[in-house]
Amino acid sequence: MAKYGRNAHAIAALVREAEVHRDVYVDPEVFELEMEHLFPNSWVYVGHASQLSKPGDFITATIGRQPVLASRHSDGSIHVFYNRCPHKGVKIASEPCGNTGKFFRCPYHAWSFKTDGSLLAIPLKKGYEGTGFTDTQANGGLSKVRNVVVYRDFIFARLSDDGVSFEDYFGESLSTIDNMADRSPEGKLAVIATPIRYMHTCNWKMLVENQTDTCHPMVAHESSAGTAVKVWKREQGDSTETPMAVQLYGPFMSPYEFYEQSGIRIWPNGHGHTGVANSIHSNYSDVTGYLDQMVAAYGETRAHEILGEVRHNTVYFPNIMVKGAVQILRNFIPIAVDKTLVESWVYRLVGAPDKLYERALMYNRFINAPTSIVGHDDLEMYERAQEGLKSNGNQWVNLRRLYESSEEQDVTAVINGTSERQMRNQFHAWAKFMTMDMDKHVEAAE
């Protein structure tokens, strides 16, 4: 029985000022509506321009559940298409990345398309003469995603033709992407390896919320980070230097007071980040030669300003998290209401010492891998929540920590770092982008 379809009122009622109904995590119909409304209305991360360095390079991705394809055209421009042949719907590219040469060729009937998506050739073209083919959508080649923005090499797309502009959607939140790129002495990032992939049997939003949940590390990760700290204390002997591994695990065990003072910043449209004043990434060892490179590139003042910004996790609504200080992006890709594929990418700071890339790769496998003990701690919690939420005893999830009745929506604010306000911020955006085109869909259907 459809409870929520074409019913903006019912969707909006799932989000209260500081609570959300469990159906946002467990109801398959709500998930379908997210695919139909939320993801197309949002600006979603597709990939990084460094993955498309040469003409003919392509990557594949999904927006919500829709397969897309991004390519580098011969004139240097980047295009995003729906990844299906206009003929019979066959996916044009099936690999995560590659180079297609001068054109894409459908493997089924050899229809071919230029790397800007336009139709190049169809075998036996005569068979379409006088059939009205030129009036069909197929004649236009690969269906194009019209709203694409490449910001500092990060490729974002919005599937809906109408909606909030890229600039209005992200606003000041882009400062985290800026900081990550600025950390390269050349101001450039590069993807040079595959991501770590990790399948989660839980709703995608649990992962997004956890990015700014600062009251769980010292509890849920006592088993991993806490044990790492304990074993190091016992085994360190006369060592005066803390190994990189212990430097990465240790800060997870910081007390509540640390997270309280480090702060959270929220932005309009569901974006926000932890680690305003400082973060768990603040006290890593200096890497020899790096500061000198940065000073040479940016000058003393600007270099310290860039490196002094050590934000923890920045959520870009709806489904990515960026860690500028460690050059990691996690993409929470929805598969089903209770299934999420997490792809965690590491960016190399172009021109910076190898040690920084080594550290980012180490962090990624410690925290974001199926073999990561920190990951095991988190996934256990998500899975238990996915099960527990089936209970009818209480149908609401409580997000009231440090809630104030005077809270405004869609504002920029800096608050206590243990607040659940960023989660409330996300759900306000969730309801907004879920329902913004629902009335229109009703009209169209009538």
Binding site: I196, E222, S223, T227, E235, N364, I373, H376
Partner: protein, 158 residues
Amino acid sequence: MINEKTITDLIYQEAELLDTMQWQEWLDLFHPEGRYWMPLEWQQQDPVLQPSLMYEDLLLLKVRVERLSGERTFSQKPKSRCHHLLQAPRIVACDPAAGVFKARTSYIYTETRGDLLERYSGWASHEFVEVGDTLKIKLKRVDLVNFDAPFGNIQLFM
């Protein structure tokens, strides 16, 4: 005297220790400078500047082992168990004069927890170093046939 049988016996012993969850005895098989490596790329060469699923020294392996029995290790309530099915190891090198001992073993690995059971296939490459009259693991490299697939939790050791 170390010979090819010393190597194969040690590989079988290692699998048995893991299957019977004798974690400390398993750690004792490693050289103090030993490493456990799970690459993320096909025929990967570099564990440090290429992404891996695991590349851990003895300190980190001790953390894992200690965590498994932790009071607040909730992802081990209930506990995981594992099973190694090994093909006969192929001796790649057994050269006592040069101190080089290597073997490659094809395996099917099963990890189970609660009602779930997952199977993995791959190859284990061992490099040993001679210590006294025995061998210690210098490197255990585990290459999964589908290293690029998205797995759920892998909590024990292949």
